[in-house]
Symmetry: C2
Subunit: 445 residues, 2 copies
């Protein structure tokens, strides 16, 4: 049993490794586990560590203890097709290891100030005590709503009141709420190319979707007009994957379109990372009555942080309270209080600044690297967010571009991979998403 244990949480690592071996069948029903002392010696950890891991496995029924005999693997019922279904999350996570992944990725975990977060958690626990068991109103904890409201004013110039800020369990959850709020009989126009999850979430919630193409200046206005949609979901600050930024003139056109009884969902998913120049004004500020502003903390904090928010137009807020007023928030008060303190005590903006510095360096290095190695490519970087595009007119097919990158250990996708319905004019362009890239990885490329 040679396990390489995570230094910081040895007991938990050991417990996880043994559990996985039981579930995968590597350790079989009746197998005896090494004695605590022997395993501790083998792994150079304390006997307490092994004992805690064993006790956890015992409590969960993975092993049984026989007096004066030791610990044995229990008969774990992993269902009819255990091999296939045990720990299904592993399947989706299984990916080739790349030297550089420019498709997925989130901020390097070691940049998150976990010790601060843990300190705030402990503080919330002792300050709020049993208050933590109180029912949270559907729209979220007022302290968090208020902290986000103040942050939105400082960072995005949004003037609203805490009431209109609705806390939800992440972006996909909020998409569902929007469908329930606006009604399923609406047609949602969604950007193409774009994130696959946006349209699929709306559809999963029963709404009809139509696609409008994104050009250099954002969505094609004529397509929006001709789409018969009455809700438009866009990211005007920085569209993924094209990187398009919607200029003021186009924004005004879109607002005028919305003012005829329609709505715009302004998805500001990576606006915190405007790396050069001033942040762009939100569309919400242009027309608070017709724009639903939304953002999450998965890009800025951790993808596991299932908290997002939206700012509703006053009328929709009223409707929201009518529909959901008798429900409780699905986000635990504990997380809401911790995040509220993280924001209002200044940690959030300090963290964003550290991330921005990190990403500035990564971006400069990446651009440098691309310019040095490839001639005749065109880099399109609008100074926003965590990705840019590289067009190589003579590179052959998109498949060839991706294969060439793969040969040197780099994973990329092309614009065409994000097309929800096929349209032409999006070939030969790689999307460079550097949100998960570390300086070390760049050194080894």
């Amino acid at each position: 049993m040679l396990y390489d244990l995570n230094e910081k949480h040895k007991y938990y690592s050991l417990y996880k490794r043994i559990r996985q071996d039981v579930l995968s069948g590597k350790l079989k029903w009746g197998d005896k586990l090494p004695s605590k002392r022997a395993l501790a010696q083998e792994l150079s950890v304390s006997v307490i560590t092994v004992q805690t891991a064993y006790e956890q496995l015992l409590a969960e029924g993975y092993v049984i203890a026989k007096e004066r005999s030791g610990y044995f693997v229990a008969k774990v019922n992993v269902g009819p097709s255990a091999a296939e279904q045990a720990l299904p999350e592993k399947k989706t996570d299984s990916k080739r290891s790349y030297k550089l992944d420019l498709v997925k990725g989130s901020a390097p975990a070691n940049m998150f100030p976990f010790s601060v977060w843990a300190k705030l958690m402990r503080g919330v626990l002792s300050d709020c005590g049993e208050h933590l068991l109180e029912r949270v109103p559907c729209d979220g904890d007022y302290e968090l709503k208020s902290a986000i409201c103040a942050y939105l004013y400082r960072a995005r110039g949004i003037q609203t009141c805490p009431e209109y800020v609705i806390i939800g369990a992440g972006a996909e959850y909020l998409y569902g709420v929007i469908v329930q709020l606006l009604g399923r009989d609406n047609t949602f126009a969604v950007e193409n190319p774009g994130y696959e999850k946006i349209a699929s979430s709306y559809r999963l919630n029963g709404a009809k979707c139509t696609f409008v193409s994104v050009k250099n200046n954002g969505v094609d206005f004529n397509e929006v007009v001709n789409s018969n949609a009455n809700v438009l979901h866009i990211s005007p600050s920085h569209q993924f994957p094209t990187g398009a930024v919607t200029p003021a003139e186009s924004r005004a056109e879109l607002i005028a379109w919305a003012q005829a009884g329609r709505y715009i969902v302004e998805d500001d998913y990576d606006s915190e990372f405007r790396l050069s120049g001033k942040p762009l004004q939100c569309m919400q500020s242009l027309c608070p009555e017709r724009v639903i502003y939304m953002n999450t903390f998965s890009k800025t904090l951790a993808p596991s942080m299932r908290m997002g928010y939206m700012v509703l137009p006053p009328k929709l807020y009223k409707k929201y309270m009518q529909i959901f007023g008798h429900s409780a928030s699905v986000v635990p008060l504990f997380e809401q209080k911790t995040l509220a303190k993280f924001i209002s005590e200044g940690y959030f903006e300090r963290h964003i600044n550290r991330l921005k510095n990190h990403y500035k360096g990564v971006r400069a290095n990446l651009i440098n690297l691309i310019e040095k190695r490839f001639s005749g490519v065109q880099i399109r970087d609008t100074g926003s967010g965590l990705h840019f595009t590289v067009t190589a007119k003579n590179a052959g097919s998109d498949e060839q571009i991706k294969k060439q990158a793969e040969l040197v250990g780099v994973r990329i996708k092309c614009l065409s991979d994000y097309l929800q319905v096929p349209i032409s004019g999006y070939s030969n362009t790689a999307v460079i998403n550097y949100s998960g890239v570390t300086e070390e990885q760049l050194k080894n490329i």
Copy 2:
């Protein structure tokens, strides 16, 4: 400023009270707050308590500090219709104070072993550390799934494997998942009378609902057959509000109905509280391929605990993973780990036992009281759950029954109040929901 502060969390109480006064306009822009020392003296708390509350208000922008002058109420932008919209949650909570509320209510808060819960939380924080930031698979943390799986076997005789247990953010959230899983083109048959939330949640998620009446033996089978529904949502162990328990014969009929390509959602919402006799076998055990079992922790732990779970038939589990496999769980890992330990270390079942003893006493006292005061009434108590019904044939209208109760400070609803579509045969029957009743309240009646 005379505030009556919660003994245990004085700083938090004080902060909340002042914040509320700012938001309600009782404290106005520019008003000076009392000095820390003066307020501390006035309220008989320490200066530190006042200081912590003031700092919190300062951080959130409710007050501003002027050097050597003190604290002043800030200009808080509470929006265009502040008076109407500030703290909207208060509105829905505003209710007359009754001596005895037999409509709403959850287990008395002081019965929840919060110190144990807090201890487990601190343990999870130090044991798991940064692992808490890991993305949780859509179906939930395996440790919690496994703890629930083992509990279901011990408490309900359900034999399943942890994989098929899906963790979600409460019952309403899971209703939405079921609609997305089974499809919006299905018709859901829902019990009538019943909880208003069940049908409204299904409808909010775009499904069609039809109602089937509940008689003494549970849902009317002929109505189910004639309904053209392909999904049936029932609580066979103990229906709310009728208290009906579905006997074995009817269960077999329903299972046969489901086996023709249909599904049954078995909502086991209060099965933990079978107060006399043995627990009833689940329908899930009779036909795991056609029954979705579901339950939550809001009745057993706290209504704020937005965690529920369902056990999916293997085929549906596969479909679930296809649809949601790339999403993350909306329930934070921290709460999932804490609950997992609460269950696997035996606290959950000890807590349930304490609650059961408490409820046994409350129920006996209530029945005693009713039998003493009213003659000619018929109490129908199936020994299950947290409510029973009282039929008074000569009591006049249901409105009169409720008014008479209100005159002595008792809030009740009648069976007819829970009818989703009007049908006859449900009059003159009060529903006695004693889930929130304390022994003290009974003494004062």
